[in-house]
């Protein structure tokens, strides 16, 4: 009987990818909820990791007619002490009853792993990012050059000496160009030779050798090779992201959550563009301090509000640790807009003189309570200050936000700014 043995391992994988996409599409709202929840619990830096999410099975349930209850009969193995007519207490004899706890659990909650891309995609979707922006985030924009072999043409500066010499040597050997010592040897032999006939023969031979070596150049234009370079998209190596936040008592949890989402988005954006992203957290009340993420978002603090203290702190950190020529500096400030009146001038000065010149991007996010309409009534002191600065030409992105979906427009400015910068550079 013929037997076929087939190696299927090389078949393209991902056969059930389409089913998976269908599943995710169907479970979108559930998965999105789970992603939202997971990303709230996560540190900013972990937002890009894929990961396990748990969704309620309710919406994804596949119902069947199932029977339950009633009188049950079962035959079990492993009788040790029972005889016919014994009664077993129901509570005591649990083991026979709940035989499949694993299945029971998996029925009401469903855990599975999302890949990085799926996770980020859903995360961005949740922020209602337009597709265009998503594509931009995914794009790497700056270009670098990279060695890519050799070419026959190029600029003299790019001549590859070793490769050229190697080729020349190969050609000389192939064409049997007489070597220098060969000629010298022959000349010495002519010198030493006494017999006329033999001498004439040697001279003739020397002539041919010399002629040949003249015909075959030491280095031919054909041998010359140039190093070839290709431009490749290359992320600019590193960026630092400053998160500045007012943590005085007037900032509520909702406001901090908005701020956190904004920072996350900025981080995602930077991470896609730069290989290495550092985050510096500076929180301030009437004085500023650099803290870790946990303290930044959740640590208690109280006091007045002096924005200049945070800017001063940022300026110092930049001077000490992040040389603007090595680092792309991004800063994002979140605040409810309160600032002590006397601080305005100093803040403006610090910002225009010290901070903005070294920053790629400075965003100010004024966060408000959910559905906060009172917030439109009058501009806060910080907002009016920044507005004044912007009108006088400072490159500031600023936005008032009270709902998650309003966060993205801040980024709109960021993309626009880059586009116009590129257009200016192009012609």
């Amino acid at each position: 009987m013929p037997i076929h043995i087939i190696d299927r391992r090389l078949n393209p994988g991902g056969k059930s990818l389409e089913n998976r996409q269908r599943f995710l599409r169907r479970a979108k709202s559930l998965v999105q909820g789970a992603v939202k929840k997971t990303s709230q619990e996560r540190d900013i830096k972990d937002v890009l990791e894929g990961g396990e999410v748990t969704i309620p099975l309710d919406g994804m349930h596949e119902p069947r007619f199932r029977r339950e209850g009633g009188t049950r009969d079962m035959v079990l193995p492993g009788n040790k002490k029972f005889i016919e007519g014994d009664y077993l207490q129901r509570s005591g004899q649990g083991s026979a009853k709940d035989s499949g706890p694993g299945e029971g659990d998996s029925e009401d909650a469903f855990r599975f792993v999302l890949s990085r891309d799926e996770f980020v995609d859903l995360f961005l979707d949740d922020l209602e990012l337009p597709d265009l922006a998503k594509r931009k985030i995914a794009q790497t924009e700056s270009e670098g050059i990279q060695r890519a072999g050799y070419t026959m043409t190029g600029s003299p500066a790019n001549i590859s000496v070793s490769r050229t010499v190697k080729l020349a040597l190969a050609r000389r050997i192939a064409l049997k160009r007489p070597r220098k010592d060969e000629i010298e040897e022959l000349e010495a032999a002519i010198e030493a030779c006494t017999d006329e006939d033999e001498r004439a023969a040697l001279v003739a031979r020397l002539e041919t050798l010399k002629a040949k070596s003249k015909r075959i150049p030491f280095i031919d234009p054909l041998d010359i090779r140039y190093r070839r370079f290709e431009t490749v998209p290359k992320p600019v190596a590193q960026a630092v992201m400053f998160c500045l936040m007012d943590v005085s008592g007037s900032m509520s949890e909702h406001m901090k959550d908005l701020a956190k989402r904004f920072y996350m988005l900025l981080y995602v954006f930077l991470k896609r563009r730069y290989k290495h992203v550092e985050i510096v957290f500076i929180r301030h009340t009437d004085r500023a301090e650099e803290v870790d993420e946990q303290t930044f978002f959740y640590g208690p603090a109280s006091g007045g509000t002096l924005v200049s203290s945070a800017l001063q702190a940022m300026h110092e950190i930049v001077r000490e640790r992040f040389n603007p020529s090595d680092w792309n500096i991004y800063a994002a400030q979140a605040s409810d807009g309160d600032n002590s009146y006397s601080d305005g001038e100093l803040t403006g000065l610090l910002l225009t003189e010290k901070i903005l010149p070294v920053c790629q991007f400075f965003a100010y996010l004024e966060v408000g309570e959910a559905g906060g309409s009172a917030f439109d009534l009058s501009d806060s002191s910080l907002w009016s200050l920044y507005e004044r600065l912007r009108n006088s030409g400072a490159p500031l992105s600023m936005r008032k936000v009270s709902e998650r979906s309003e966060i993205f427009p801040v980024f709109h400015d960021l993309f626009q700014r880059r586009d116009t910068a590129q257009e200016k550079a192009a012609p």
Binding site: E62, R72, G78, N79, E84, D86
Partner: protein
């Protein structure tokens, strides 16, 4: 002594070929098996997961629920909660066995003996498989189904198709003909017929017919109830079949989708009835083949010990108070009964002669086993061949749990002279799909009135339907029927225990 098939754990495709040839020699000559041609495919873990999510079939139509299962299996596999099967075998001709690439050479031998000869013989010879499945046509039919679903999605939209399939899947367990009488499935012809039906409809389509005035509708009320039920083929327990034939407002393609789901459910129906026998047969066959190969010196002692290790794990039966216990292990039970049959046939005791007069001491082990494999299913197999010795060995006992009984769960019978027959009958019943699945049938349609579809659930031993699930399934049913659906739960005395009525959803709401 013959030449070793392999040394150590490594294998290549030549090794597989030698192993298969050696197994085939033992299977055909010594055991007298009769198998479909074999096709052996080596796959990776990811491909195995793929196969899991499409019920083991190499090709299947696309549906989100398979993606869900894949995600679930993948998550538990990654966490290490679940190992993967060593093999998957498909009841088709040629019989396809998937082997995992990371199996050792010994495991590959085990798996080839198990799947390519054990399961294969069972598929080809068991009466249920012969009656209900078409091994030659299944792969072609699945291919047709896959393409058909894809075409439907293109023509009528993914959401519409998904809605129909969701509903069909919910009713899948009630889309089966349980009793023969209708002719055996011929899936190839089925595929052609589907094509011809569509073609015919397209050819004879004439829009003018729409405009022809219709005569006065015949008064249906004159039909007696009996006559009406007969015309509709009622009572009907195959809900999918009934909907396909009689649902008033389904589009032809929707009927075809129901038909596809129904055929696939029917294809798997024998497997659910023969878990113990199927696995028992395969385990018994691999055990015999491996032992023989070892006797012949084709497998070294070390490798044979490795085999015994995994074989013991496969046939391990935890006791009821063990945390690992989750019911009877079909491998353990099936293998034990078959080995016991071997013992009874060759070396019976007095008790066996009394219990099994037909086979005790008959001598021809393989003849008896081949007959058993061909003519029984789990329920009748256990009911017939579970011996007192084996009941004592497993120390089986029967519990009767009546919620009304205050004193607790009663031990109804144990493995003693008084209890043997009752324990055996009860265990056989546990393996009877007729008792496992709810008995639901369409009993009537009020055609002259509001077209309400009426179903009965015949409640056995007070076990009613889970309410949330029942409502959801009925919702799907109502969506297909497009009029109200009523499900009445009645007990053996026709007393109504509970009544569900569900109305179809408007389509827009269903899509959301």
């Amino acid at each position: 002594m013959k030449e070793r098939l392999f040394e150590g754990a490594d294998w290549d495709f030549h090794t597989l070929q030698r192993i298969t040839d050696a197994c085939e020699e033992v299977a055909l000559k010594d055991l007298g098996l009769d198998v479909y041609p074999n096709q052996i495919e080596v796959i990776t873990a990811e491909q195995m997961l793929d196969a899991y999510s499409s019920v083991g079939m190499p090709l299947f139509y696309k549906h989100w629920s398979f993606g869900k299962h894949f995600a679930f299996h993948e998550a538990s596999y990654r966490k290490g909660l679940m190992g993967l099967a060593y093999e998957i075998v498909i009841n088709s001709s040629p019989c396809i066995s998937y082997l995992m690439e990371e199996n050792t050479a010994t495991m590959q031998t085990l798996v080839i003996a198990h799947a390519a000869f054990g399961h294969n013989h069972f598929f080809k010879n068991n009466y249920l498989f012969k009656q209900w499945t078409d091994a030659d046509g299944i792969l072609d039919y699945l291919d047709f189904a896959k393409n058909y679903v894809m075409q439907c999605e293109e023509r009528y939209g993914r959401i519409e198709v998904e809605r129909t399939l969701d509903a069909a899947h919910a009713l899948m367990s009630h889309g089966i003909d349980r009793y023969p009488g209708k002719k055996k499935l011929d899936l190839r012809a089925e595929e052609k017929r589907a094509g011809r039906r569509r073609q015919h409809e397209e050819e004879v389509f004439n829009d003018l017919w729409r405009t022809v005035p219709k005569g006065a509708a015949k008064s249906r009320s004159t039909l007696s109830i009996e006559r009406r039920r007969k015309l509709l083929g009622l009572p009907q327990e195959n809900l999918l079949y009934f909907l396909e034939k009689s649902a008033p407002r389904l589009a032809p393609w929707q009927r075809e989708l129901l038909r596809i789901v129904r055929h696939i459910a029917q294809y798997f129906y024998p497997q659910s009835q023969t878990k113990v026998m199927n696995e028992g047969t395969a385990t018994y066959v691999h055990y015999r083949i491996m032992t023989k190969l070892h006797e012949q010196g084709r497998i070294s002692d070390g490798n044979f010990l490795e085999f015994l290790g995994s074989h013991t794990n496969v046939v391990f039966q935890p006791e009821f108070d063990d945390p690992r216990f989750s019911g009877f292990n079909p491998y353990a039970l099936g293998f034990a009964v078959m080995q016991d049959i071997e013992r009874i046939v060759t070396n019976p005791e007095n008790e066996d002669r009394e219990w099994f007069p037909d086979i005790a001491g008959k001598g021809d082990v393989m003849g008896v086993l081949r007959d058993v494999w061909a003519n029984y299913r789990d329920e009748s197999f256990i009911g017939q061949f579970l011996s007192p010795k084996l009941m004592r060995h497993f120390r089986m006992f029967h519990l009767h749990d009546d919620p009304e009984e205050r004193a607790g769960i009663r031990v109804d019978a144990i493995h003693d002279e008084r209890g043997f027959r009752r324990v055996r009958r009860e265990l056989a019943r546990q393996h009877d799909v007729g008792f496992i699945d709810a008995n639901i049938e369409v009993v009537d349609v009020d055609l002259s009135g509001d077209r309400r579809l009426i179903l009965h659930h015949h409640v056995i031993k007070g076990s009613q339907l889970n309410e949330t699930d029942a409502k959801r399934v009925l919702q799907h049913l109502a969506d297909l029927w497009t009029y109200d659906v009523a499900l009445i739960e009645v007990d053996a005395n026709d007393k109504v225990l509970r009544e569900y009525v569900v109305s179809p959803r408007p389509i827009a709401a269903a899509v959301a």
